[in-house]
Symmetry: C2
Subunit: 211 residues, 2 copies
Amino acid sequence: MQFSSSLLENAVNEFARLPGIGKKTALRLVLHLLKQDTNDVSQFSEVIAKMRSEIKFCQRCFNVADGDICSICANSMRRQEMICVVENIRDVIAIESTQQYSGTYHVLGGVISPLDGIGPDQLNIESLANRVQKERTEELIFALNPTIQGDTTIYYIQKKLAAASGEQSQNIRITTIARGIAFGGELEYADEMTLARSLQNRLPVENYVSR
Amino acid sequence: MQFSSSLLENAVNEFARLPGIGKKTALRLVLHLLKQDTNDVSQFSEVIAKMRSEIKFCQRCFNVADGDICSICANSMRRQEMICVVENIRDVIAIESTQQYSGTYHVLGGVISPLDGIGPDQLNIESLANRVQKERTEELIFALNPTIQGDTTIYYIQKKLAAASGEQSQNIRITTIARGIAFGGELEYADEMTLARSLQNRLPVENYVSR
C-alpha cells in the first residue's frame, strides 16, 4: 500500500499491529479518525495511554483494578469466602456478565502448560494457596477451559492445597463449573468426550433449570 | 459487559466507537494492549494523536500530506499535466497500489448527491477548474464510482470546464476509467447495466492486455 503521507502511514502501521486488524481495516479506522474532531481523537489517544500506564492489578485476586484492590474484592456485598478460579481477565468479565455469581475471583494468569514453558511458578497459584489459608475460604470453584492443561492445573492446585493445610482443607468445598452439551447445541454434533462426560455427570430433572 | 476497572471500561468504549468494532473486539484489542510494553502503547497513542493534529491536506490536490504539498504533487517524475479525479483519499491509495499511474490526482471529497445535501460547492470542484486552466492540463481522467451520483459529477465538471474556458477546453482530453466485467468476474452473475455497457464499449482484441 502506497501512502502520500508518512503520518498516515505510521498511524496505519500502528493499528495494523493489533490482533485481527490488517492493513485495509487499519486504513479504514485511521481515515475514520481523520474525519473526527481533533479533541475526540486526542481523547481516544489519551484514554488508551492512561489505561496502560495507570491500570493496576488487584493485590488480592489479580483482576484489573483502578487502585490496589479491585471493585469486586472491595465490594462487601459479595461473598468473600467463595473464590472462583479463572485463567484470565476476560473470563472474569464473561462470568460477571451472567450476573449469576456473587463471590470473588482469583485470576491465575494462564494454565499449567509445560509445552509452552508455563509452570506453576509463572502463575498466581502460590498467592491462591496463601489466600485460601488466610481467608478461611469455604468454596473454591474452578472455571477453567476444559482442556488437558486446565485439568492439570485443577489437579495441581488441589494437591497443593491438600498438602499445605492437611486436615483443614477437608472443610473447603472444591468444585468445577458443569461441563456438558451447551444450550442450543445439538447432540449429534457434540464430540464424544463431551457427550460421554455429560452422561456420566447426569443431573436429576428437578435440578435442571431451563433459561 | 461488566468491568472491574473504569480505566479498562473507558478504553474499551473508545475502541468500540470505531466503525466495525463491537464491544467484544474492543475488549480483545484493549487486553492485547494491556499485555504490551508501556512504551509501545504510548507510542501507539502518540502516533494516532499526532496523525490527527499534524496531518495536512495538499493545497493543490487535497490529498493527505505532511506539508503544504503532498509527495505526489511534489514529485517531478510524475506527469503533472495529467489529473486523475477521485472521490476520496482511499481511492488515491487504491490507484497508487496498482503502480500503473504516473500522473497527479485531484480529490473531490465526495460526489454531487442532492439527496444527501451535497452540492458542487461542498466539493473541491472550483479548485479543479482553476487548476485545469492555470496548469495547462492535457488529460483529465475521472476515476469515480459508477453510480448515478458519480456520473452526475462527471457531467457537471465537464460542463463547467467547457463553460469556463470556451475553446481552450477542446485541447483537454477527458476520459473515465473503463467499466466492464471485472477480472475473475463471471458473465452470468454480472448485472444487466454492466454487461450492456461492456458490450457497447467493446475493445479490439489487440488492445486487450491480460494480466
